[in-house]
């Protein structure tokens, strides 16, 4: 095939054939002659050439871009999760203040907590025992009385008693200093049950000031009893 292109520009099929190098040499030269005489048309053909080259480049490029895109997506998800967790922690902290309430004697406990049935537990010599002891309390019970029999002599200031909720997310704890055993040799504290339900509680007792001996430690899990009269 030969012949020059006259007034009419080469059609799309001819452009495509030229860019795919499918035209006869003489026809291709005629095409180029037309391009040289018509710069606007030549620019259009050149843009088509760039589009073809760009498309050919894309298959090799896509996996890289997909990898980069995947990495960015994962980072965005991680950042989002971090933000959500941080917000959640802040929210939980605002709902549940970090300090845990503990009363040294029954007289300090608010009357509202004492109106229901009382629940008490006595813990004796459980040093080294890491098992969790489960306590099931009636729903209307307001306070848990914990009696601990220390197995070591008190320090100069008596005992220090630590009570902590073993929550990895929101740790709440309280330490009572200058705690002294009663006539029967027990330390007694009163804890609001509502703060403890569903949590694992760790109670530690040490001479105060610390003597370096191993702590006397207990772990408790508190739950409400399932009852039909629950409102």
């Amino acid at each position: 095939m030969s012949g020059s292109f006259g007034h009419e520009p080469p059609d799309e099929a001819t452009i495509a054939a030229y860019l795919s190098d499918r035209l006869e040499p003489s026809r291709a030269e005629a095409f180029e002659a037309y391009c040289l005489r018509h710069p606007d048309f030549a620019q259009r053909v050149e843009l088509d050439l760039f589009l073809k080259v760009g498309f050919r480049q894309m298959p090799a490029q896509d996996p890289v871009r997909r990898t980069g895109h995947r990495r960015r997506t994962m980072l965005a998800i991680a950042a989002g999760l971090t933000l959500i967790v941080a917000c959640g922690l802040l929210l939980l902290r605002s709902v549940h203040p970090g300090a845990l309430l503990a009363y040294r004697s029954a007289t300090e406990v608010p009357a509202s907590l004492l109106s229901g049935p009382r629940v008490s537990i006595t813990l004796i010599r459980l040093r080294g025992d890491s098992a969790v002891h489960r306590i099931v309390a009636p729903r209307r019970a307001g306070v848990l009385a914990v009696r601990v029999a220390p197995d070591s002599a008190p320090g100069r200031l008596g005992y220090a008693m630590g009570i902590a909720l073993e929550s990895a997310v929101i740790p709440r704890s309280v330490t009572l200093d200058d705690v002294h055993a009663d006539a029967n040799g027990y330390i007694e504290v009163y804890l609001p049950l509502a703060d403890l339900v569903g949590q694992t509680l760790r109670i530690t007792v040490n001479p105060s000031p610390l003597t370096g001996t191993e702590s006397l430690s207990f772990r408790l899990q508190v739950a409400y009893a399932q009852s039909s009269d629950t409102p």
């Binding site: 006259g6 040289l36 005489r37 589009l51 760009g54 480049q57």
Partner: protein, 207 residues
Amino acid sequence: MSTDEVGAQTDLSNRALCVRIRAGDFGAETLLITRLQSGLRLVANRAAGGDLELSRDVCQETLVILLRRLRTTGLDDPSGLEAFAAQTARNLVIAARRKNQRQRTATDSEALAFVPDPRPLVQEEEASGRLGVLVHRLLAELPGDRDRAILTRFYLKEHDKSEICRDLNLTDLGFNQVIFRARNRLRQLLIQAGIDKRDLLDSEGGS
């Protein structure tokens, strides 16, 4: 207007252009460059087997040779300006390949049995890599999958326009609109990216 009339007008323009360049008119030189550079790059690109970088260099060199000639002795037949430019570009590509071949021979005797490497040159990969990024962006901006399918089939898979129109139930006009928009968007992206802006995009004239 007949083909002969168009040719005559071009002859006249070429003749006038050559006279003005001979007279030291820099504006005429700029006009010449604007008129010929895209076409010259296409000529050189085909002669160079798709080496975009070489075709750009050859285009520049061709224009330098052409301007020197027009400033000094001029052309016997200005109507053959485009043909002269095209043949100069083709000769330069051949010379560049011979030079490249000689350099290979000098460093490696086995290159005497030179066989053209079908793989793209590094420079071409770099240039086309940038084009790939732009085309990828262009595709991402398209509103629908149909336009992406049209462009991919036409430019990458080299399907016939009629085949694409038939498969996608498209009219000629619909097809042309998609292609037209793609060209214009690529032109904008090239301008934004600063790729070959001075060389390729002096004129905003489109299809």
